[in-house]
Amino acid sequence: MAELAVGRERKPGSGFSQGLRRFAENRAALAGLIVLLLIALMGFIGPLVYPVNPFAIVATPMAPPGDGAPLGADYLGRDVLAGILAGARVSLFIGISATFCTAIIGTVTGSIAGYYGGKADTILMRITEFFQVLPPLLLSMVLVTLFSPSVLTVILSIGLVNWIGTARIVRAEFLRIKGEGYVLAERAMGAKNGRIIFRVILPSALPSLIVVTTLQIGIAILFAAALSFLGLTDPNVMTWGLMIGQSRPFIWQTWWAVTFPGIAIFMTVLSVSLIGDGLNEALNPRLRPR
């Protein structure tokens, strides 16, 4: 019973400000955050500063960088820089919205499986196995193809195939936390399951959830890029993957039209990964090396 008393002190969230300080000291993570903010800024303010329609033919087809278009023009004469600016907003929007779906589905299933165990847990395990044999990217391709490509179907298909990772982490956190003293204390005081799940355990699981969600944004952006590379995207919305996919037959003539959008994807995902790693080290001190 002694642990019930001390348990209270280890309540969640107390290490949060401390974690933020640790994050601020992590140079790689900070660099990632700055780059990501710049990309977001680029996506929202860029089109105002550089008001060129990414679909308009504004230059000579296959014009190299500098010649009428700062980063060159593609095989049709469309401005690559305009496409990159337009793609930033879409990429971030799809990445974050899809991850929002994975976080919701993953948290609900993971917490039910972890908290109630038993049958619920078994079902989650079976679903996990099921998703392990289905290549997630292929499944999301099938979904988008069948339900016709649009921003919404892309977001939902990515959300639907990627939530297992989140669910497993949330489940593990629930399993770990539900045995802790302060949870037992709440239960001893007669708290209802709903309160324990949402008010007691979930806040403690938040650090891990934040980390995995951040990393999922990177995965979602890569998925969206792959889908649009294959043409599985709304043809009226310019994305980085679409730019690469459409210019692929012309890589020998217009290397810039495939290289720059790729760098944009890479930088975005890299900055998200750096932030995720930084958050992991900052918020999960028990995982950090001494």
């Binding site: 196995e129 099921f130 392990q132 044999v133 289905l134 290549p135 997630p136 990217l137 292929l138 499944l139 391709m141 099938v142 979904l143 193809t145 069948l146 339900f147 016709s148 990177g218 890569l222 890029a225 792959a226 590379f229 294959l230 043409g231 599985l232 993957g241 690469i244 692929r248 890589i251 020998w252 290397w255 495939v258 290289t259 790729g262 994807i265 890479f266 995902v269 890299l270 990964s273 750096l274 790693d277």
Partner: protein, 333 residues
Amino acid sequence: MAVVKLVLARLAQGVLLVFAVVVLNFLLIHLAPGDPAQVLAGEFGGTTPQILAQIRATYGLNHPLWVQLLTYIGHVARGNLGQSFYFNQPVLSLILQRLPATLLLVITAQVSAILAGTMLGVIAARRPHGWLSQGITVTALIGYSTPVFWLGIMLLIAFAYLWPIFPIGSMETIGFEGGIFHEALNILHHLVLPAFTLAFVYLAQYSRLSQANMLETLGSDYIRMARAKGLPEWLILYKHALRNALIPVVTIAGLQFSQVLAGAILVETVFDWPGMGQLTYESILRRDYPLLLGILLISAVVVVVVNILTDLSYRLIDPRIGAGSVTGVGYGT
């Protein structure tokens, strides 16, 4: 025999999973917007009213849903995955024609990623803060953040155009004639870039993993014991430590196989590699739904088979699991 029992159990589990994929396919056909018969016919390709009527008859689309499900399962069980009207061929035979090329690519990529990755990890473990170790960490991060199709295009530009030491794509030089050996060499030459592209992400990841395991293993008591026995460092490293460090890598590689297969779709598209991935791209382009769903199903089958093989190889490396205890004499406490 415990091994046989184990394989049978895993097979049964695999059959169940594949069955679940079949049901998923059926659901998708019916959930997709539009007439299921139209879905089963695919969008492009001459779908005449006669063909649609024929499909309705074959799949019993006028019957209640559960009869339709049973009919569908019956067809799949007999190996009928439908007809690709675009290619004018049965889906199964189309996929089976393309499967070997994909397996060659995927297995080459995975095996080289595991071997090279573990080697690098082992070397890096000797200096946990050395340049190689840091290089691996950075490469892993880069590999993780790079879209695989873009990496493939960049490699093509670099090594097939600017410095043309590799062919620009496809699996064989068109019209290439020669002995078996030369032909194999020709394929190998075409294989290098796509396999490297597909292996790149995992290579760094496996090095990191094996390095971490190696560091843990090298600190273990049995390595100290091996040193106390007077064994030379290379024997300790490559006999005693490597095998222990390999176990987690094989486990992860097995779990990730479905991801690798998905990556192959993109890599094959970039390199015109005539495998299942390229077929996927074509089926997406043509909205050839039966073909696309067939590929989904066969991919699941491939992953199940590979998982069983991984499981078995895992048991070869680690005697503590399953089969090992069968030969035991029962030395309890």
